[in-house]
Symmetry: C2
Subunit: 385 residues, 2 copies
């Protein structure tokens, strides 16, 4: 909500300054609303908050509604290190009481505020400006500035400007949070679906989870960006989704497949691609469709070779092949990891992509090619809350 | 983008008026950004556009990027009827050229504009104010006002105010479009998945599609709101998703199931519920989990009775039962529709919910209980583009 202004008592130069402030806020509002990525909204918000009111540290606390706690995703400035990972219950301290009251607070002498519990590090907090982030009548977080720069105190002007800013910023943040929550819900459902499907094959339980983890490790080792890792994750989760159409007699056959059965089994990448094509995500489509290709062009369904083969597919191929080799089948025992690793390395350039195998080799040599490690990468690219 | 103001040449009262305008725009911006529903954003936008600049007709054209055409979702005022369903190629006419240039245009004498092709109805267009909607540098649509009210011409002030408004409105519109596109993509994928799964049961091909269509008919007849119909749609699409875990030998058995097989078959509502629980959508969860309950409490898995039974589940139960009855099984022929309809009616109060059966009866009697009819309802609740 924007407080109504009483323009009657202002001078011409006041009005001109305010108009300029408003124009600046319009531009900032456009920048904040221009993305649905939470991290980007938050980073842009702090950059712009600094341009409006310089402070030694600025931070945005988000509300975890379920736990009624405030937590951080972004902090900038001197006290950043000390604040990260902090969680504060609603109602507690200055931040917590602003979250519960929904009313901004300017505390220029924190030492004398009974809610203040002191600094936990060498950073010395003198003054705090705290603003609730309110979207559609609900507090969704708190914006906080510590210690104005080059000045002793925050001013009423700071409070007014930052309140306007908080008003502009809350909705883009909330929209990004909703968008990512929707994405996460669908991703989680799709994961549950893929893992349920996984259970139909009695001999490969947990295969999807492991292929996802290994793919994450390889992707991170190959320095894929966050967005690409997310696509890789979704593709790896869904890589075998086409098996939804594969009959049990083939999926669960306790002996090697004959030629006709193999042909039916080989349909799953294309069947899966038909399903994920609706996501309009080329990387996911390629990962699902082409995870059984070979760099020498002898794979299926498209017989792509070398550089024609999308990176996502080349990564999943290594993860999938390694897991298939170490897994027991009723008609053969799984290979010991070292032996499977040697096989992977020797398949570079024929079945598997040399650069992915190189990443595999490094990870394996360092003892980092583990499901736990892969799941840690996965957590790092997943949004909290 | 907000044009920089040259405040030097304005009087105090000009500045005060502008400040008030800006404050109004901030509030409007907040209202527009407060939702991710496209229809709501558009409706709020037109309401607010009218409060800034009154015109006989106001409309928002959206860009269909694939086809490079502009189309409508909302139109208000006198010419609304004539404009709806119109599509205009980018580059064509005044609207099309603003979409392609990205530059606002004020045409106060349309008759003399070579791009003007005349009115198609009795509505007489005199003046047009057309503004591009630009998000992150891309034109995503066009805002258009026809004939200023109580005045002859649009003014430079109208152009300036509406340009500011268009700047504030474009991002919320784009965000809502992206959000709904993401939703649609996942829905489409889930539909493809459910239909693929459907094919595993060789005797019930097309079952999901028909249950969705019948559920839509029943829901619309019972006057469910748009949001509830969407949940019903998703629940009906996913009602049998738990069969992903049902073995082929049971799913495809060419004779009635024995007791042990029946017990395994009966797990699918709970298995499906576990998968869709990740959507955090209670209606979808209930629809999937409880579509085999009976109003007399003798169903499964929870034995819910009467009003305990969620409406979504009661609707899907009627749709599902009807389709199962008319479908051929290898060990029995499907019932003729009239006989199945009589069975449905006679199950009211024991297996099926009387109010849903009442809706079924009306639809059936009027010859409206058809897959085509249901798919028409579905189209009406689905966003274009």
């Amino acid at each position: 909500m924007i407080a109504a202004m009483h323009t009657g008592s202002y001078s011409l130069s006041d009005l001109v300054r305010r108009l300029a402030e408003y124009e600046n806020l319009f531009e900032i509002g456009g920048r904040l609303a221009g993305t649905l990525d939470v991290q980007t909204v938050l980073e842009r918000a702090l950059e712009n908050a600094e341009s409006i009111c310089r402070a030694e540290t600025s931070s945005i606390w988000e509300l975890d509604e379920e736990r009624q706690e405030l937590f951080f995703r972004v902090v900038r400035g001197k006290a950043a290190g000390a604040l990260r990972n902090l969680r504060v219950p609603v109602g507690q301290g200055i931040v917590g009481s602003v979250a519960s009251s929904g009313v901004p607070e300017m505390v220029n002498d924190v030492a004398s505020d009974p809610r203040w519990r002191g600094d936990s590090t060498v950073f010395q907090t003198r003054a705090i400006l705290t603003l609730p982030l309110v979207a559609e009548g609900q507090v969704i977080g708190v914006l906080q500035l510590l210690n104005p720069m080059d000045r002793d105190r925050f001013t009423d002007g700071d409070l007014r400007r930052m309140s306007l800013f908080a008003g502009i910023f809350a909705h883009p943040l909330q929209n990004a949070r909703l968008h990512m929550a929707q994405q996460r819900q669908f991703f989680n459902m799709v994961t549950a679906l893929a893992e349920t499907l996984d259970k139909r094959d009695p001999y490969t339980g947990g295969h999807v989870r492991r292929v996802v983890a290994y793919s994450m490790l390889l992707g991170a080792e190959m320095k894929l960006e966050r967005g690409d890792l997310k696509n890789l994750w979704l593709a790896a989760t869904l890589h075998d989704i086409g098996k939804i159409a594969t009959p049990d007699r083939i999926l669960g056959k306790p002996s090697p497949l004959d030629r006709e059965e193999l042909e039916i089994m080989k349909r799953h990448p294309a069947d899966g691609a038909a399903i994920v094509s609706h996501l309009h995500n080329p990387a996911v489509l390629q990962g699902v469709r082409n995870h059984h290709e070979r760099v020498d062009g002898k794979g299926y369904p498209d017989g792509l070779a070398g550089d024609q083969l999308p990176l996502v597919a080349r990564i999943i191929a290594v993860a999938d092949t390694y897991d298939a080799m170490v897994t027991n089948r009723p008609y053969r025992a799984g290979l010991p990891p070292e032996k499977a690793a040697r096989e992977i390395v020797s398949s570079a350039g024929t079945q598997l992509c040399p650069s992915v195998v190189k990443a595999f080799r490094t990870l394996y040599k360092d003892g980092r090619f583990t499901v736990d490690g892969g799941e840690e990468v996965l957590r790092s690219i997943t949004e909290p809350v």
